[in-house]
């Protein structure tokens, strides 16, 4: 199985992305995610899933506080029968899914923590549908995991979420300068004092999220990933324009279907700071 999947904020986006060639949409759950994308309610997700002839998944990757977890588990129980998968980071959600025997719909997506086949295999042994590999790995490391952990996934395109703080860092800074609030404000970027790259930053009720200054792309790598056994290929749409999303879907679809692509994404979208990230560059200790 191969699944081209994409994060979506609403019904219109979901329909459009499916029509362009995605196999699955991942709907961002309002109040349940670490994502700068705006989310859908449970009712909206349920309605979209009913109409969707392809797969519907839900992003619910927040770490929940003690007073929130009961409600989060209730929400999970409402969602699981309606959708094909829930992507989670908080083990408490898997604990709940096991209680209702729906762990086979759970996908472990902890951003950075899945960095080896051994840990991937452990999570899969819990009965999960899939695990998402950390984007901090080299091509060889990803291939190793893909070959040894069935059904694994990877974010192949879009900005990578670099950090999440529970603190309202932007609001604190604005307050320090007695400036206007920066809370829930779109279009904000950080630039490290001695570097050029601009990193999208967004703050909401659940904290502050910083994304990479580059847009991950994987066009040259997808055929190898696919051959190694990688199953889920995810696109994050945050900060991407419609045509950038459209072309990404079209080209990855072609690659996953075994076709050769002749168009060059980087030429069509010369303004995008594209990068193959860590595929060719191993981090050091």
């Amino acid at each position: 199985m191969k699944i081209l999947t994409i994060l979506c904020e609403n019904k219109e986006q979901a329909a459009k992305n499916l029509s362009l060639g995605c196999d699955e949409v991942i709907l961002v759950l309002k109040d349940g995610c670490f994502s700068a994308l705006s989310g859908c309610t449970v009712e909206e997700i349920t309605a979209i899933a009913k109409e969707n002839s392809k797969r519907t998944a839900v992003l619910m990757n927040r770490l929940f506080g003690q007073e929130e977890i009961e409600q989060a588990q209730k929400t999970l129980c409402e969602l699981l029968p309606q959708v094909d998968a829930v992507l989670f980071a908080d083990p408490a959600l898997l604990q709940q899914a096991k209680l209702i025997h729906m762990e086979h719909k759970m996908i472990y997506r902890p951003e950075t923590l899945l960095t080896s086949a051994k840990d991937g295999a452990w999570w899969m042994a819990q009965g999960l549908q899939s695990v998402q590999i950390s984007p901090l790995l080299t091509k060889e490391e990803i291939l190793e995991i893909a070959a040894n952990v069935p059904h694994a996934g990877l974010q192949i395109h879009g900005r990578l979420l670099m950090s999440v703080s529970k603190r309202k860092l932007l609001d604190a800074y604005a307050s320090y300068h007695a400036g206007t609030s920066l809370h829930e404000k779109d279009g904000l970027y950080l630039r490290e004092d001695s570097r050029e790259g601009r990193m999208p930053v967004y703050e909401n009720a659940y904290g502050t999220m910083i994304y990479t200054d580059y847009v991950q792309e994987s066009f040259a790598y997808v055929p190898e990933f696919l051959a190694a056994g990688l199953e889920r290929f995810e696109i994050d749409t945050y900060t991407l324009k419609d045509e950038e999303i459209r072309d990404a879907i079209t080209m990855y679809r072609a690659l996953l279907d075994g076709r050769t692509i002749t168009d060059i994404y980087a030429q069509a979208h010369a303004d995008l700071p594209l990068s193959s990230g860590y595929y060719g560059q191993k981090t050091i200790k």
């Binding site: 770490l63 929940f64 506080g65 003690q66 007073e67 977890i69 588990q73 908080d90 083990p91 408490a92 898997l94 604990q95 902890p110 951003e111 950075t112 923590l113 960095t115 080896s116 086949a117 051994k118 840990d119 295999a121 452990w122 819990q126 901090l136 790995l137 490391e141 190793e144 995991i145 990578l160 670099m162 950090s163 999440v164 703080s165 529970k166 603190r167 309202k168 860092l169 932007l170 604190a172 800074y173 307050s175 320090y176 300068h177 400036g179 904000l188 970027y189 950080l190 630039r191 490290e192 004092d193 570097r195 601009r198 930053v201 910083i210 860590y278 560059q281 981090t283 050091i284 200790k285």
Partner: protein
């Protein structure tokens, strides 16, 4: 009131012994492999063995961090390493990788498994999952937990809980931050964190820079939970943890000693301390702390007051540590190995394990090698003989009185 474990950091064997001497019930340290903080002077196997022997002789315990988020090649030698730790008498490993925890349970069953804060545990249900699947013995709570959450989680947890009480704080969820990876290629989850969160950043709205000096930073004040010690103890938290495997011997001695006295006093009285007593303890704690402090999330939202937008203002700490006692003579003098500048007629004080601090005015000083009388010490690691009007012991710390 039951006393929780006071858990102290150590970057090398000397600091491990210092922590235990000054009252730590347990010390956590990292080996040369499988541990974060790769730039700490990590322990060889022989060091770990010696630390275990020293701890056992003093009724203390050793916990070893095996908390790397491992890549494939990082597992080499894991089983042998875990077996060695068990053989040496290590009490627990602190781990974040399920495979490492599972392997420990299989090959070294006497080792307790403590789930690292890298897993960002913020609710009791997550602990139930980790207990059911990995049979963990303890969960280290995420530093994002409020006091109310710590209390409720501990109440509902199927295993012991451990909470941070002092030291540096990751501003982002631990284990999920890749700022260092991006800025320096140093992997924060494999011990290479460059602390890029503490750097300066310009903020733009589209193309227009907003705010300005001081630039945006995520640099957090250090945690100091002294005023939350009673609630933490009342909540039944089993272990109270001090951060700082990269910190100095002086930091370890000061902070451990101060929290030892604080915990003991609360346990003895069974009540929250008066404002006056708390102020005494807080003053002691801050003598060892070179960053400004805050109470983190214990008091609720960690807002503007928990961040540092300006230059460090507590540099005194770096000048306070004057030396350690290397030898005690019969004639009321002792030999100090110096670390900082000081002079006769200054008021100094000794930090002695298990005792109240004692101060005195330094009257005379003799170079231990040349026997020359001197008025001022300018070079570190000089051996000087000083007269002390009370009894001191080897390894006591001499510092400036404030």
């Amino acid at each position: 009131m039951k006393k929780p474990e006071l858990l102290a950091p150590a970057g090398d064997l000397h600091r491990a012994k210092t922590a235990i001497r000054y009252g730590a019930d347990a010390v956590y340290l990292g080996g040369q492999f499988f541990s974060l903080r790769s730039r700490a002077s990590n322990f060889t196997l022989e060091d770990i063995q010696e630390a275990c022997a020293f701890a056992k002789a003093h009724g203390a315990h050793i916990h070893v961090t095996v908390n790397i988020i491992p890549h494939e090649e990082d597992f080499t030698g894991l089983e042998e390493y875990l077996k060695k730790l068990e053989e040496f008498g290590v009490t627990a490993i602190i781990a974040a990788s399920p495979y490492i925890m599972e392997t420990a349970r299989r090959v070294a069953p006497k080792l307790q498994i403590h789930c690292s804060t890298q897993m960002s545990v913020t609710n009791a249900q997550a602990i139930h999952f980790l207990k059911d699947t990995l049979d963990i013995d303890r969960a280290v709570l995420g530093r994002e937990c409020t006091m109310a959450q710590v209390k409720e989680i501990t109440n509902e947890s199927p295993v012991e809980t451990e909470a941070f009480i002092h030291g540096g704080m990751c501003v982002n969820y631990s284990g999920r931050c890749t700022l260092s990876n991006r800025m320096t290629l140093r992997d924060a989850n494999r011990g290479g964190c460059a602390q890029s969160c503490r750097w300066s950043y310009h903020v733009y709205e589209q193309d227009k820079e907003i705010a300005g000096e001081p630039l945006f930073t995520m640099g957090s004040r250090d945690l100091c939970a002294a005023e939350y010690m009673y609630p933490l103890m009342e909540a039944g938290v089993s272990s109270l943890k001090i951060e700082g495997r990269m910190k100095t011997e002086y930091y370890v001695a000061c902070i451990v000693s101060a929290y030892r006295h604080l915990i003991d006093e609360i346990a003895e009285t069974g009540k929250p301390l008066s404002a006056e007593r708390m102020a005494v303890h807080q003053k002691e704690i801050l003598r060892g702390e070179n960053r400004e402090t805050c109470t983190g999330f214990y008091s609720g939202d960690a807002g503007e007051g928990t961040l540092i937008y300006h230059a460090n203002s507590n540099a005194d700490v770096n000048h306070d540590f004057l030396g350690t006692v290397k030898k005690v003579n019969d004639n009321g003098t002792c030999v100090i190995e110096t670390r900082n500048v000081f002079a006769t007629q200054e008021k100094l004080e000794f930090l002695t394990p298990g005792k109240e601090n004692r101060n005195f005015v330094l009257e005379t000083m003799v170079n231990d090698k040349t026997r020359e009388t001197i008025a001022e010490i300018r070079n570190p690691m000089t051996l000087v003989e000083i007269a002390v009007p009370f009894e001191v012991q080897e390894n006591d710390i001499l510092r400036r009185y404030r």
